[in-house]
Symmetry: C2
Subunit: 155 residues, 2 copies
DNA sequence: TTATTTTAGGACATTTTTATCTTAAATAAG
DNA sequence: CTTATTTAAGATAAAAATGTCCTAAAATAA
């Protein structure tokens, strides 16, 4: 029927963001065991496309979320000491920017308390809870769940 | 810097959904005063593109969310009696489908409690609150706010 | 009936996002 | 220094979402 609802849209994050989070979480599990990983290893375990993931990891490297080394024995790693400091919000911000936290639910040029759109009051509550959730969830938290087998990255 | 974060993405709903909600809310305010409105009037007051909005209203008409009549004195209207029954979730479902409620936060093929992705437990809480919010907010609620001047559709 | 108005809907165009390909740069080992 | 390996990054391609255009169909009134 309707050309809309192509069973694809409506995702909370962009694909780039999804690939980025999965890659970082996998790299973190390996760094916890002292293993530096190559991009091929990353995408094999995250199910994301290799070249695209490379681009995303490049951005995350610039944002100092992950560390990279070129050449033989190179790859990606995250210092275990930093894992509890790095939050999911840092990844989302580096890739999708702050629109997740600041954007208007109906797409108005800006979200305002004094001149709100019809969904503002209820929308802001959800958005703030999402923000708090992302800011209080660390890479370490997610990596531990994956390493223990409680969670998965591919289905 | 990063080619990502083009200051655009990260929106909770698709543009089609945003246009649809704004159009419906405006039509509702007019129907409350017994006025049937033409598409030109709708987009003048919602700030959305006309042809695209026409497509979206076509889908919403099929889903029985709004009523349309062709010909002179035609246009769109919503029976005031139904406004409290029609929820924002109905509009979102008609346009974006159920991925908002069912989709995995990291894009896995399906969201599962028994085999969850790393963000599942925290993500599901937010998603359920969003769902509840959309299911408990009626078109009538939004229309009243707009009619009284407490909220706006264009900025 | 005929002319006019307005939505319906298919075809087409544009923009954005996602993804790939190719070459350059960096690093380490021999 | 040379070679092999790996990330960096620009150019390009494909796919999806957004948006426009044009004709058909429906309804109304004269
Ligand atoms: S103004 Fe629309 S969500 Fe705040
Ligand atoms: S499995 Fe990913 S959100 Fe439920």
């Amino acid at each position: 029927m309707s050309k809309f609802a192509p069973e694809k849209d409506g995702a909370m994050f962009s694909k780039a963001c999804e690939h980025g989070i999965k890659a970082i979480v996998y790299i973190a599990t390996q760094s916890l065991e002292g293993r530096r990983v190559k991009i091929g290893d990353v995408v094999e375990n995250s199910g994301s496309p290799e070249a695209f993931t490379g681009k995303i990891l490049g951005a995350l490297t610039k944002h100092n979320i992950v560390n990279s080394l070129t050449g033989p024995y190179g790859g990606f790693e995250i210092a275990p000491k930093r894992m509890k400091e790095i939050k999911v919000s840092d990844i989302v911000f580096a890739i999708d920017g702050d629109s997740v936290y600041k954007g208007c639910g109906l797409g108005l040029s800006e979200c305002s308390n004094t001149e709100p759109c019809p969904v503002h009051s209820k929308f802001v509550k959800i958005r703030n809870e999402l923000k708090k959730m992302l800011e209080t969830t660390s890479i370490y938290d997610l990596a531990v769940g994956l390493k223990s087998g409680k969670t998965i990255l591919i289905r």
